[in-house]
């Protein structure tokens, strides 16, 4: 009597895993084919594209450097303020939501879900769309920009902060609770020291993103360098557009250097 043959062939994945992967591949191909077949692309525009691109760059160069001090510098400073104030606003709004979303602090499923919904809603609506809404409320200007940056950042800051809070060690918290410390002290002396490094890194990361985002808010009237860009585009002053794009590029590079410098020093 021989023992029943043992399957000696080794597979990296179980059949269920392989089936799932195959389904994903199939679905991907189907989605891409569907999208490519039905998306509306106008062939005349496409044939024209190389000529238009060359035209774009010849109109942009040389940049209108004289425009920097008259129309761009002030808007640039405004952009910086919008991004920074927006980030501060986001911190103020996101901390309570994050506390509500963290399951180890708020022990209520309903409140957790509600907070998560707030976070998802804030992230799903783009900063440009938030800006549209706030321009309708506060009128054109930097206030709408600050509100848009703030509300858009709640989702990002709040989600990451809630995750950091949930990862906090329960030991110090229990020790503090055992001494009869009130809730505020538990937060301040138990959670905060543990969450602080990730908090600063989240804020810094979001500030970096917000500098980029606030550069385009002006396209819908929410202040900053985008207003200058919008005006240059509307007037077809491509040499000014080129200058503004170069300035935005420089600012983004400087921000990235500054944030990575701060990050390596404090974290």
């Amino acid at each position: 009597m021989t023992a029943p043959a043992i399957r000696r062939e080794w597979h990296r994945f179980t059949p269920a895993e392989r089936l799932a992967r195959f389904a994903v591949y199939l679905f991907t191909v189907a989605a891409v084919v569907w999208a490519a077949r039905y998306v509306e692309i106008i062939p005349e525009f496409l044939a024209d594209a190389p000529a238009q691109t060359v035209d774009l760059f010849t109109r942009m160069w040389p940049f209108d450097w004289a425009h920097y001090w008259t129309g761009v510098h002030g808007a640039l400073i405004e952009t910086f303020h919008i991004a920074t104030l927006g980030t501060l606003l986001a911190i103020a709004l996101a901390v309570p939501v994050a506390l509500m979303a963290a399951r180890n602090i708020t022990r209520s499923k309903v409140l957790n879900l509600f907070a998560t919904f707030l976070l998802v809603a804030s992230r799903s609506v783009n900063s440009l769309i938030w800006a549209l809404l706030f321009v309708a409320i506060f009128g054109p200007g930097a206030l709408a920009g600050v509100m848009a940056i703030g509300f858009r950042s709640i989702g990002f800051v709040g989600k990451l902060l809630a995750e950091a809070i949930e990862e906090a060690q329960p030991g110090p918290i229990e020790a503090l609770t055992a001494t009869g410390a009130p809730f505020g002290s538990v937060l301040n002396k138990g959670y905060w020291p543990q969450v602080e490094p990730s908090f600063w890194s989240i804020v810094l990361f979001r500030w970096d993103i917000n500098i980029r985002e606030s550069a385009v808010l002006g396209l819908v009237g929410a202040g900053g360098i985008g207003v200058a860009l919008d005006a240059a585009l509307a007037n077809l002053y491509w040499d000014q557009v080129g200058l503004i794009l170069a300035v935005i590029f420089a600012v983004v590079v400087v921000t990235e250097i500054v944030t990575s410098g701060i990050r390596s020093r404090i974290i």
Binding site: V24, W34, V39, I42, L46, T84, N126, F138, V252
Partner: protein, 267 residues
Amino acid sequence: MTAATSSARGRSAAFPANWSRRLGYVLVALYAVYAASTLDITLDRFIRGLDQGAQFLARMWPPSFDPVQLSLLRQGMIESIQIAVLATFVGVLLSLPLGLVAARNLMPASISWPARGLIALCRSFHPVIVSILFVKAVGFGALAGILALIVASMGFVSKLFAEAIEEMNLKQVEAVRATGASFFGVLVMGVLPQVMARFVGFGAYQLDSNLRNSTMVGIVGGGGIGATLFTAYQRFDYDFVLTILLAIIAVIMVSELASAQLRKIFQ
């Protein structure tokens, strides 16, 4: 036991006050006041805005379910999804070689630095700005949005992919190399198995991100639901704006769930 009796004075407080930190908070608060005053943000304006906001919300509610508008919404949303799918597919496909080339532990510096420069360039401009340029180059419509989001996807996915490759375990690569495998063989057998799961994760995340951004490129003429939203906004159809916003949030929630599932399959 004299130490125990005199300890109350000799021992430092358990939680000493950190004055430099308090000074830092005061400086941040002063900055916020200063920046708000330069941006002409006043409490009066804010309060007037709240009044406006109440009116605005009243005009938004209830969301419109007019059949004509719903069919516009459907068209726009389908186009947004098509833009996101195509941009993710092409962008992720292009990121694979770009990320490999940009990894400093696989390539000599003379090759990896230009690739890293290209990635930095892709990342530095906001998708909306890139899509303005593409609208000029290839005309209004979905193609401009697709191209802009391809650029954004390349910047994001290839940066993270290159970092994942730089963090991988070199022993497996050496083992494959020691068998005399060609460079291509080393890539397929030594490198890709280690990083493929993370690459799929980045791709799934990018699909979410592109879907979010595809709701925005329409504002500058890049096609999709953003165009529908912007038109409704300009026509003061605020109830339809709310319908569109709710639809966007719903679609993005579904896509976040789907991409979490996708990541689980490929873990």
